[in-house]
């Protein structure tokens, strides 16, 4: 570190120029708004609004998927976790990547062929429409809202770091959270799925390029020798030492880590905002290509974060990271400042902000689609509703969800609710994935089985979280003064996922006297494998 940087950092770790950060971010917002405005001109039908007219190519959608998936948690969070806790941060990213094989092999193409706009389309295809759609919408809304809240809460920490609005200035931070929320609502209302997709694509390109530049830069400093980089990271972490390279610093309870690992690997293919992206391409083959692109981009990105994390440990040091505003989340921005000064910090900060914006926009459109298409059009109106009426409801829902996210984000600002992301994955793996797999691959699976599996998985997850150490007890962030811990693990996955698979079987047995719809089963199976009768792209 040169003396100049040291002097700047001595002033309470405030680095970079706020003006520069804001102007780079402002440029991103302007460019994306332009795309969103252009997209709005072809935003007429339900298919346009929910699925971008199914007009994106596989590679385009693959880039957008990576933009949707690589949230602030996986960029700032994983790089920071590696910088401070070493190897255990890397374990996290392996689960996030391997999970994509479930989507590639078992879900993406069959779902694209069978469904129209939402997860509920597939789950209810050969079942009784109203109860199954209501269940699918419930779990979609729960997963999306947990995920959304976690992103908005994370925005508070980022603001502290990037705009130098200290945590003591609650009002200032709240204003910025509201600005993020309003921008997101504009993207979704004006641009629909097409506009949201452009935002995600632009953000993914910026994020991956930024990480690539930093990775090459860090490696260059160590003569492109990974071993030397690891050695320097160990040397600069006197408290951790060699342990930085070994598993066990962050996850001290093995069962807890296995539980988390299960939720990560089985949750991705059940995340509604990821599933919905498969409807934006014209065919199942394009859906496959999009997953292939996503796997390569996400995988390469996680390899970058490995270098960035250890690079931050080696060049910035865990102590400085932990004491900076934003704590572990500040590892990547501090590393950017160390390498390229204010300009690189400004770029990386703007990208981090853009990341939150793109992910919350994707979540909002998914939640609003599920409410309008599954609950309003099919459960309340029994399918007798004009498509433009449905889209109108979706827009109103997006507005409501956006408002809730702003209020929720302001309320939870500063509280560490990172566990909400792990919880969202656990609910996706427990409530959604078993039902998706059973309805695609198991002939006898029926309405009762689907309801048991979705509601059972959802209830198990939420109950286990309530009675876990994250909610009450001395180590919790919510009720540290009371203790009603009954389930001594951070993540419910290891219990709730097998339970939900089992409940699907039990429910199917309970409902075995339901009339079997031979024609619908044949249509679903043949459609899912051949693509016959699947939703076509809209020509403009």
């Amino acid at each position: 570190m040169n003396p100049g940087t040291a002097a700047v950092l001595a002033q309470a770790e405030h680095v970079g120029s706020v003006g520069l950060n804001v102007s780079i971010f402002g440029a991103f917002v302007l460019v994306t708004l332009l795309f969103v405005y252009r997209a709005s001109r072809t935003n007429k039908t339900a298919s346009d609004y929910y699925a971008a007219g199914r007009s994106f190519t596989g590679p385009q959608n693959g880039v957008a998927i990576s933009g949707d998936y690589l949230s602030a948690a996986s960029f700032l969070g994983i790089a920071g976790a590696i910088a401070v806790n070493g190897y255990d941060g890397f374990l996290y990213s392996v689960g996030f990547l391997v999970a994509w094989l479930v989507a590639l092999l078992l879900v993406a193409e069959l779902l694209r062929n069978t469904g129209k706009f939402t997860m509920g389309d597939v789950l209810s295809f050969r079942m009784r429409q109203r109860p199954v759609r209501a269940a699918a919408a419930t779990s979609t809304l729960v997963v999306s809202f947990f995920y959304l809240l976690a992103q908005m809460a994370g925005a508070g920490g980022l603001i502290a770091l990037l705009l130098q609005i200290p945590n003591s200035n609650r009002f200032g931070q709240s204003v910025v959270i509201a600005v993020v929320g309003v921008l997101m609502i504009v993207y979704v209302l004006v641009g629909g799925m097409k506009g949201t997709t452009y935002v995600q694509m632009i953000k993914a390109v910026l994020l991956i390029l930024g990480a690539a530049v930093m990775t090459v830069w860090v490696l260059g400093k160590f003569g492109f020798n990974l071993s030397a980089l690891l050695g320097a990271a160990v040397e600069n972490s006197p408290k951790r030492g060699e342990a930085l390279l070994n598993p066990g610093l962050q996850y001290t309870n093995p069962i807890d880590f296995i539980s988390l690992g299960l939720a990560l690997v089985l949750g991705t293919a059940g995340l509604p905002h990821i599933l919905m992206r498969f409807y934006t391409v014209p065919t199942a083959k394009e859906a496959r290509r999009s997953v292939v692109w996503a796997i390569w981009l996400i995988g390469i990105f996680y390899l970058f974060t490995l270098v960035l994390g250890y690079g931050a440990a080696a060049l910035v040091g865990p102590d400085r990271i932990s004491s900076a505003p934003g704590a572990v989340n500040s590892a990547a921005p501090l590393l950017a400042f160390e390498l390229g000064g204010e300009i690189l910090l400004g770029l990386i900060s703007a990208v981090a902000f853009a990341t939150i914006l793109a992910v919350v926009a994707g979540l909002t459109i998914t939640a609003s689609a599920s409410f309008a298409h599954d609950v309003y059009a099919n459960v309340i109106k029994k399918g007798e509703v004009a498509p433009d009426g449905e889209v109108r409801v979706a827009r109103i829902t997006a507005l409501v969800i956006g408002a809730l996210a702003i209020v929720g984000g302001i309320l939870v600002n500063g509280i560490n609710i990172a566990f909400l992301v792990a919880l969202a994955f656990a609910v996706a793996a427990s409530a959604n994935l078993p039902t998706i797999l059973y309805s695609l691959f198991w002939k006898k699976f029926n309405t009762m089985g689907a309801l048991f599996s979705i509601y059972g998985g959802l209830a198990a997850c939420v109950l286990l979280i309530i009675f876990s150490p994250v909610v009450s007890g001395p180590k919790s962030v919510i009720f540290p003064n009371s203790d009603f811990v009954l389930y001594d693990l951070q993540n419910p996955g290891i219990v709730s996922i097998p339970l939900s698979f089992l409940l699907g079987v039990i429910g199917t047995y309970v409902g075995r006297r339901e009339p079997f719809n031979t024609a619908r089963f044949a249509e679903m199976e043949v459609r899912s494998l051949t693509g016959a009768g699947s939703e076509k792209a809209v020509a403009h």
Partner: protein, 110 residues
């Protein structure tokens, strides 16, 4: 589609579902994706279990500061990329042509 088949009363989807071509496509898909899914899930589980219960083994240094844990972790990336590539080749060769034929057959009949 001709109506002289044994299942002339069913829908076109039921007729196709009963055809040997469809049964063949379905079994080709399942023969690949089920064992492959089991394999990568077991391999991932093995990795998680090793990291949880055998940190000593994962800490053995192999080249410089690069230890067994890092190598196995990076191998997870390699296998993920490899399975992706193998599946795409398999699907292009053994799944897509049959799916395409059946789809044309159905869409010309409806």
């Amino acid at each position: 589609m001709s109506t002289t088949g044994e299942r002339s009363t069913g829908t076109i989807y039921e007729q196709v579902q009963d055809s040997p071509e469809f049964a063949d496509l379905r079994s080709r898909l399942r023969r690949f994706v089920f064992p492959m899914s089991a394999a990568f899930l077991l391999w991932y589980l093995a990795y998680v279990l090793l990291a949880s219960y055998a940190p000593g083994f994962m800490s053995i240094k192999v080249i410089g500061n690069i230890n067994v844990g890092l190598i196995i972790g990076l191998l997870q990336f390699v296998t993920t990329f490899a399975i992706t590539t193998i599946y795409v080749r398999y699907a292009n060769k053994y799944l897509d042509p049959a799916a395409e034929r059946l789809r044309t057959q159905i869409e010309s009949a409806t």
